[in-house]
């Protein structure tokens, strides 16, 4: 009898201790808030998959994910930060990253990286470097895509042209575009947007730059840059291998390509899933042609921590996981959701093995020529001022020289470097 009592007592004690331990660990669970826009639409389910794996790996951290549409995202973030309500971790596109970092809204990650012994070499170094400002690391890359030349093989065949190779330069590009344009009144040779991002990169192909060496002055109207813009504008105005805005008539450039009426388009690798789904003709990719040298663009969205967060450790685990873990990279590759910014050879192999486009090597070959966009506090404003004058030149309302002179003047007046 006594023995049985003892056993019962022991069991009860065990149960109580167990309860207490469960309660204890449960009390230690940290919940972090995470806001993003990338997972909008089709990608929500993949982010959810990532979250589940993360919470299994780190049972003490719960993540509350909030996905906000891109169009409202930055307005919402702005209001939240002003109201002291910002999430612990969130996503920023490059333009806003520059502004947020320069204004001191973000938590520098350097100490956390050292403390966690995080080996950042698993992240593509250009993508990682993009998220530094004033010599400190403020973000980790989330999604990553670069810009390549995508071409319609059927139109090349029809025009009897050889396909673009990685050795092509501006002249090859223009010649091919002219021959494709000659195929029909509504068929165009090439589309490359004339706006800040493209121009920033294309001037580099011509050994120019929009800034001086130490980023203290604008050099927008240098002779090389005028020459570059002339070349870009001639494609629209003189040769009309690229449609004018009126010829495009509200049709998106991707739609023009997908309709089979465009020979070549300079755009991001994020177009792949769309083109795979919608193109009923053969297409492939090549590294974007340069002239004096090659320069290619990439776009990355960054993951950052709110300076005011009280859960920096847990939030850092989460963004580290999203940015660099093999699990996340594989989900991305399988889903065709942009390019993971990691260097794991097996992940890269897996990416290259995906069916289309055939020449996936070009995506990686392009990484050798990446140019990083400038980190400027007034990024959005600068890019719009530039865009306004580029559009005036594109539409033939100003010569490239006038446009760039005016742009230089206005930028000097309004943008602090």
């Amino acid at each position: 009898m006594k023995k049985r009592m003892l056993i019962v007592f022991g069991l009860v004690l065990l149960f109580v201790v167990n309860l207490w331990m469960v309660a204890e660990t449960a009390g230690k669970t940290v919940t972090i808030n995470f806001a993003n826009f990338s997972a909008g639409g089709d990608n929500t389910k993949y982010l959810e998959e990532m979250r589940k794996i993360f919470e299994k790996k780190y049972p003490n951290i719960k993540v509350k994910v909030e996905t906000i549409g891109y169009n409202d995202y930055f307005t919402v973030m702005q209001t939240r930060i002003a109201g002291g309500n910002a999430p612990d971790a969130f996503e920023l596109n490059y333009e806003n990253f520059a502004t947020y970092a320069k204004k001191g809204t973000l938590l520098p990650l350097d100490d956390l990286i050292i403390k966690n012994k995080f080996d950042t070499s698993v992240i593509n170094k250009n993508a990682l470097a993009a998220f530094t400002a004033n010599g400190r690391q403020y973000g980790l890359p989330f999604s990553f895509s670069n810009v390549i030349l995508i071409y319609n093989k059927d139109l090349f065949d029809k025009a009897g042209l050889a396909y673009p190779t990685n050795d092509w330069n501006w002249d090859d590009l223009l010649e091919a575009a002219k021959k494709i344009r000659a195929l029909g009144d509504k068929i165009f040779g090439l589309y490359q947007p004339i706006q800040f991002h493209e121009f920033y990169k294309v001037v580099k192909q011509n050994n120019g730059s929009l800034f001086n060496e130490d980023m203290t002055k604008f050099t927008v109207n240098s002779p090389q840059n005028i020459e570059t813009l002339q070349y870009m504008v001639d494609r629209v105005q003189k040769y009309n291998v690229m449609p004018t805005e009126a010829q495009l008539a509200g049709m998106g450039d991707w739609d023009l390509f997908k309709s089979g009426r465009l020979g070549m388009i300079v755009t991001g690798s994020w177009a792949f899933p769309d083109f795979i789904r919608d193109c009923d003709f053969q297409w492939d990719i090549a590294v974007e042609p340069g002239i004096v040298r090659k320069a290619t663009h990439f776009f990355a969205n960054g993951l950052v921590l709110n300076k005011e967060t009280k859960k920096a450790e847990a939030a850092f685990e989460w963004i580290k996981f999203l940015s660099s873990s093999r699990e996340v990279a594989n989900i991305r590759v399988d889903a065709g959701w942009e390019l993971p910014a990691v260097t794991y050879p097996d992940v890269i192999e897996r990416y290259k093995k995906q069916a289309l486009p055939a020449n996936r090597e070009a995506v990686f070959a392009s990484l050798d020529y990446l140019v990083t966009p400038p980190v400027i506090e007034q990024f959005a404003e600068m890019s719009d001022i530039m865009g306004k004058y580029l559009a005036l030149a594109r539409d033939g309302e100003m010569t490239p020289e006038e446009a760039l002179n005016e742009a230089q003047k206005e930028l000097e007046q309004k943008i602090k470097l």
Partner: protein, 294 residues
């Protein structure tokens, strides 16, 4: 019931409290703080506002952009105002007759008003498309090469005006209808006996008698024109296209894209003052043409 003096005020205040509180929280306090913000430099995310006195106002008035925006807005008003007056009077007149099933027509004309601007503007973007749009196709049949509409600096605003007329005619037409129905039919009978024709009746009876309604429509549509926004945002995709820059669009751009909240609020105060002055002027001028005797 009989109240003592103090008691009465307390009772009144108690009943008014809910709406006064709403007014205070959602109108008066925001108006006051925006006035303060317009005198500061504030980027929203990087710390508290810095007081800079009237610099924002001076910078706006000195900028080429402000005058361009004003010019674009006036261009819109000059095209829009006469057209909306004509079309709403026409619609009001049509709807004022006694057809069978007139209610159906009234509903049809009113549908665009109920449509969301985003949906409507998306449709209009395609209607006005230079290559694929209905309007240019119709012009093509009669041998006219249609303009580039939204992609052309001269034709962008007229394109926006067309869409706005489509959207607003139903609403203002209904107001005109109310005005028209207030006219005593005996005036027309008397005029007919005196030998007045259609035009005579329109100019001598209809228009003077609905002049208060016309005045109302004019004031409201000018205020709306200054605040032109959704149709611009949806129909003109390229935010760098200077012919599509208008007040509210710029305010939005400065506040939420360029992180210049102080500058943006100053811009909106200037907009308020402009609307205020223009409306004041209209009230002064109305004595010359609006008649309130029926």
């Amino acid at each position: 019931m009989v109240y003592k003096k103090g008691q009465k005020i307390t009772t009144i205040m108690l009943f008014l409290l809910p709406s006064l509180l709403g007014l205070l929280l959602f109108s008066l306090i925001p108006i006051g703080s925006s006035l303060y913000l317009s005198l500061t430099e504030w980027d929203v995310i990087g710390g508290p506002p810095q007081f800079i006195k009237g610099d924002n106002y001076l910078n706006i008035l000195k900028s080429e952009e402000f005058w361009r925006v004003l010019k674009n807005t006036l261009y819109f008003i000059i095209l829009y105002l006469p057209l909306i007056l004509i079309s709403s009077i026409a619609v009001g007149t049509i709807l004022n007759r006694k057809y069978k099933g007139i209610a159906i027509y009234r509903t049809l004309f009113f549908i665009p008003v109920l449509t969301s601007w985003v949906a409507g503007a998306l449709i209009w973007r395609w209607v006005l498309s230079p290559e694929y749009g209905v309007i240019n196709a119709l012009l093509g049949y009669i041998g006219i090469k249609g303009p580039g509409w939204l992609y052309d600096k001269t034709w962008a605003m007229p394109g926006i005006v067309l869409a706005s007329i489509w959207k607003d005619t139903g609403f203002f037409g209904l107001i005109m209808l109310a005005g028209l129905q207030g006219i005593d039919p005996t005036y027309y009978e008397a005029a007919e006996i005196d030998g007045a024709g259609r035009w005579g009746k329109l100019w001598k009876i209809t228009l003077p008698l609905i002049s208060p309604t016309i005045f109302f429509v004019t004031v409201i549509s000018i205020i709306n024109s200054f605040q032109l926004f959704p149709q611009i945002m949806v129909m003109i995709i390229d935010r760098n296209f200077a012919a599509g820059h208008v007040f509210v669009e710029r305010i939005y751009q400065y506040a939420f894209k360029y992180y210049k909240m102080g500058y943006a609020t100053a811009f909106s105060w200037i907009l308020f003052l402009l609307i205020f002055l223009v409306t004041l002027l209209q009230f002064k001028l109305q004595k010359r043409w609006v008649s309130y005797d029926t």
